[in-house]
Symmetry: C2
């Protein structure tokens, strides 16, 4: 279902696009059911905005007007326009949008945003350079209640669980737990601890221990951190007993544990078996300050986290006000690419039409168009045969595209001959019955192309 | 509903985005009803591909990886990567996609494509530099029957007529008519004739006559062309009699008139009053070879054509095969911008939720979440109050967003007290009634945000 003519820029054939559109529609539907508002931001930000975080500057695609480039190459001086680049995520543009429109938005502001993003990865790395993300965030003005840290990962878990995928698990941790443990055992360099823990899956406990030692963290401290990182359970009691067994304590730690356990308890009520506390989840050195989230698909752990995020006390600030938020982002292209390439799904047909109206001869096209209009008026996606070829060829037109029904216009009464009724043929079974374009309804399962799990 | 912080890159507030999404959903629905397949192409093409047509090179945004730019600026040499730019329309990428995937596509291939495009206009021109287009095209392999030239403008007319807009007219012409008239009166430079006619609305008949004279077209010839350009009618008979009155004839002209009149007749059957033959429509010097189309909204002629296109005998070619096509493109952003700024429409609310479940106290949030889950399970977009504030404040939360209903959880039986039922309040009327989250249904009109014509 996929074609790739320019490395890193995926494109799908029509059946692949049906899978992608199905995923996008399902995500949007779930987000709207939960009251999230859709917005889009421009693809372009000023370089100032994109470089605020410094680290990511390598990945930005910068824009220039071709004419300005040609002028510069011809020595006619470079453009003085503000330099712009393509956004590399949807968080930076959203933060800018919130500050810019703060007076017109209602807080807490719950938004979803489904758009393409671009990263100027070196082509040889084989990564996507253009891909679609689907983000949800809630942003408060000045404050944001904790319960959103419970709600948002559950919205994403619900969204992903509704797709034809193996079981999905949301892995959660809380920065306050990690910081609380560090405080309790006297590790000052929390960033170094996070950096080490972040590599747990890649380098294992010994590797992390070595890494922590290099950062000046003592063997005993490292042992506690590594033991903590191995706590993985969906039971709040086991989280508490596991941490207690480390012999650590403190106010921040308790706050973190309370939050983490509240999330597990709510998840157990609302989506049992979906959310797992995993205390090695660190989410790099980002701006997260509370809950952090990653997501695994059973049997596809190699894909990495396809949905990640967390709580940030300052998503944005305009000097006067600070906007705390919590959000998660799904890597849609990575997910869809996996669904298509394995494949995890199949589609029942490659086009929207459920029926093709045959054309008896070109003079009869008027009648076929009129039948199609009556079917469409009742919401049935309908195609009309492109030419008045032999019926065998018109049936093949439908068959090649997976269109299940072909409609044959009847004949009006003429001369001595009586009129004949329209008929419709299910080309899968070969069954053909009389039908009226004002009342015929195909089986519900055939109404739109189905996207189904394979096997 | 609009904000614009970077000139030429429009962004909408949430209510504006609801209008845009409504338009996009309606277009997609109409295209799918007619059997068109949705595809997306990457935002990026190689410069070779983008510059094939030469003329447009000024409008392209070229991409560079920021790191490569910095390396070049530091004298570390420029990247040897293939140069890429953002697409400026959806026709060039579609032509490339067709050639690349010809073996996997079924012809005639009917596709729709709704995506952003970018043009590196100088900012002072006040044009959009990022905007959304919605295209439909049918492409054949080697050949493409004429009837698609009738079908496609009618699909677009149907799509636009279904939006809350003043009446929309599709203006049509046929290149063969213009060429046939030129042949008949001995004008060899058809391109010059087209170039002159294209300016009719801007410079009037005298201006066009002067322009044609400059191009070496004689006064008598120019008079015929200007007279032809003033033929505007939805009646096939009037088209034929108007052209006959010019005293012209010829085989190509007859073929063009037959096609143009066939289109008017079909339009009169299927969408009476919508399609008008307008013989001054030239569509520049493009690759069109048969029908050409433009579209006007009554009272908004200043917007220019918001939906244009035509027939091309060679959309693409791979050396062996040629792919003729016919297609039209809607300038969605220009249309939505007008709908929002006048405004031509209003939205009934700024969020998807039809109901907010109130929270009595934070301990009771569990119960509010459970009610929300039951409402969502039946497809009702539901929000939960962000805090257990006084009910007046929770009602204001709904009111500010235009959410019509607030749900008040009842109390479970406790001690000697009997249980009280849930109630739901219509905050517009103030009416409050008992309700069950498993059965309550809001009025159909309130289910999703409505986008309605103003006045």
């Amino acid at each position: 279902m996929a074609r790739k003519s320019l490395s890193g820029f995926p494109e799908w054939l029509p059946d692949g696009r049906i899978v992608e559109q199905f995923v996008l529609d399902h995500l949007r539907h779930t987000f709207e059911l939960h009251g999230f508002v859709g917005i889009e931001t421009r693809a372009v930000e000023t370089l100032d905005e994109l470089e605020k975080k410094g680290e990511t500057s390598k990945e930005v695609y910068v824009l220039d007007r071709l004419q300005a480039v040609k002028d510069a190459e011809a020595g006619r001086g470079h453009s003085k326009e503000r330099r712009m680049g393509l956004h590399f995520d949807l968080t930076v543009p959203f933060a800018r949008y919130v500050v810019e429109n703060a007076n017109e938005l209602d807080f807490p502001f719950k938004r979803y945003q489904i758009q393409k993003v671009w990263r100027g990865e070196r082509p040889q790395e084989g990564r996507f350079r253009e891909f679609t993300q689907a983000d949800i965030d809630v942003v408060g003005s000045g404050e944001l209640p904790f319960h959103f840290e419970v709600d948002l990962p559950l919205v994403m878990a619900e969204a992903l669980s509704g797709l034809p995928l193996p079981p999905v698990h949301v892995l959660v941790n809380n920065r306050k737990v990690v910081q609380g443990v560090c405080e309790s055992i006297g590790v000052d360099d929390v960033e170094a601890a996070l950096r080490g823990l972040d590599k747990f899956d890649k380098i294992g406990p010994e590797g992390v221990t070595a890494e922590l030692a290099e950062a000046g963290i003592e063997a005993g401290q490292a042992a506690t951190l590594v033991a903590m990182a191995q706590i993985r359970t969906s039971s709040p009691e086991e989280v508490r007993s596991g941490v207690a067994a480390l012999g650590v304590s403190g106010e921040l730690l308790e706050e973190g544990l309370d939050e983490l356990c509240a999330l597990l308890e709510a998840a157990d009520r609302r989506l049992p078996g979906t959310v797992i506390a995993d205390l090695k989840i660190a989410r790099g050195l980002d701006y997260y300050t509370g809950s952090v989230y990653e997501t695994e698909i059973d049997g596809h752990e190699d894909l990495g986290s396809i949905c990640s995020g967390g709580r940030y006390d300052s998503l944005a600030t305009d000097g006067k006000r600070t906007y705390p938020g919590v959000g998660l982002s799904i890597g849609v292209s990575r997910l869809v690419s996996r669904m298509i390439s394995i494949p995890l799904v199949r589609v029942s047909r490659k086009v929207p039409a459920v029926v093709v109206v045959a054309v008896i001869d070109e003079a009869g096209r008027v009648r076929s168009d009129e039948i199609a209009a009556r079917l469409r008026a009742r919401g049935l996606a309908t195609d009309v045969a492109p030419s008045a070829a032999k019926f065998g060829k018109q049936i093949r037109y439908a068959d090649k595209r997976g269109i299940p029904f072909v409609w044959f216009p009847g004949q009006a009464a003429e001369g001595g001959a009586a009129s004949t009724p329209d008929t419709v043929k299910d080309i899968r079974s070969g069954g053909q019955v009389e039908a009226d374009a004002d009342t015929w309804i195909p089986p519900v399962d055939d109404l739109v192309p189905r996207v189904e799990a394979v096997g």
